[in-house]
Amino acid sequence: MWFFLFFYNDWGLLMKILLAEDETDLAEVVSAMLTHSGYSVDTVANGLEAVEKTKSDAYDAILLDVMMPVMDGLTAVKEIRKDGNTTPVLFLTAKTEVDDRIAGLDAGADDYLTKPFAMGELLARVRAMTRRHGQYTSSIVTLQDLTLDTSKSELTCRNSISLAVREARLMEQFMNHPGIAFSTEELLEKFWKNEDGADGEAVWMYISFLRNKLKSVGSSLVISGESGGAYVLTQGAAV
């Protein structure tokens, strides 16, 4: 009899893991083990590919080998962190020197495991990391009179109102970057990636939803911009 145990993240999606490992055999066995344990796994062969993957896909955990061709794990984690990506990173390292572990953790890794390792320990560390991430990443974003709870997809000022998942992600982007203009193309790329039929009209509709929801909760913040142009979250004109 087979038992399947699947791990799900906060969005109710299967947990996704990025594995960067240049030793093909090891990569295959780790990937197979993780898949068997209910994770969805993408495997790449070097640090550069890993950095590129993190730009196009959201992961719940990243496993990085330290010694890799093209770009090593240390450089890769620095690159990943540079974009504000806080996904937990576990280093897989053949080195046992203290200096390397310190360098890895300082570069932005959350944990490390020295090769050879027991599969059971790797799985336990992945479980611990993904658990911690969900708890420690703040789901509350505040800006002036406005509060966004991304875990509940709820926007609050004088009133509270529910947001659709995409609305919440867009709102989070605007609230984290007040005063910064985002072009329709940028938003399409970031929030509608790989979707057929999504165009400037779709962005405009979501901007319109958010504008009216900001008004509905009584916020003084507004998203300004014309259909098809750039949008920016700013303080509304004083009434």
Binding site: E154, R158, N159, S160, I161, S162, L163, A164, W204, M205, S208, F209, R211, N212, K213, S216, G218
Partner: protein, 202 residues
């Protein structure tokens, strides 16, 4: 027991019908002009004897006809239920110029929902009458509370009302929290549907 509305039952009915007729009139005029309805449902009720007595007591007022007619303002309750949020605004514009009626108070629980999630726009009308009232004023005046809401808000209020009067509810905190969540989701739908309507029409 004598009615708390003693001698004024018929008057309250007449006033309620007169005001709802005025509302229906502007609604008909609007749909003749535009082909659209300003509201989906229009209804009225006279506050029950029992509720009126309880409210007098709760408000620290003498339990008598004067309190029911003059101190408490919702002996007559009129409800206007609309399809879209903006329809509420259009109805308000009409209500503020309703003949023989003066708006004496407005409470906007849509812009500032109650903590439990309740949303509605309340408005108290003072309605003039051709006969003296209980205080001997001429023309007499009666109060009516008009509640304006969307269908979504109305459905929510019906459910909340049911919960409030049900005695033995399991997990009342959980139910309240979920009701609050529903209210916010429905409010989100109201805003989204209004937005889509505006986009279609722009």
């Amino acid at each position: 027991m004598e009615s708390i509305y003693s001698g004024y039952e018929k008057k309250l009915h007449d006033i309620a019908i007169r005001v709802t007729d005025l509302i229906r009139d502007y609604g008909n005029a609007f749909s003749d002009k535009t082909g659209e309805k300003l509201f989906e449902h229009l209804s009225w009720r006279i506050k029950s004897e029992e509720s009126m007595r309880s409210k007098c007591i709760a408000d620290g007022l003498p339990v008598d006809t004067h309190s029911a007619l003059k101190e408490i303002h919702d002996a007559i309750g009129i409800r206007i239920v609309c399809l879209f949020l903006n329809d509420i605004r259009r109805n308000l514009e009409e209500l503020r110029k309703l003949p023989g009626c003066t708006v004496v108070e407005e409470k906007d629980f849509i812009s500032a929902a109650k903590a439990n999630g309740y949303r509605s726009y309340h408005l108290i009308l003072s309605v003039a009458d051709s006969e003296p009232d209980i205080e001997g004023n001429f023309p007499g005046t009666y109060f009516a509370e008009v509640q304006l809401r969307t269908i979504a808000m109305d459905t929510w209020a019906a459910l909340e009302h049911e919960m409030k009067y049900k005695k033995d509810i399991h997990h009342p905190e959980l139910i309240s929290a979920e009701l609050k969540r529903c209210a916010d989701e429905l409010a989100a739908c109201d805003v989204s549907m209004q937005t889509i309507r505006d986009l279609i029409r722009s």
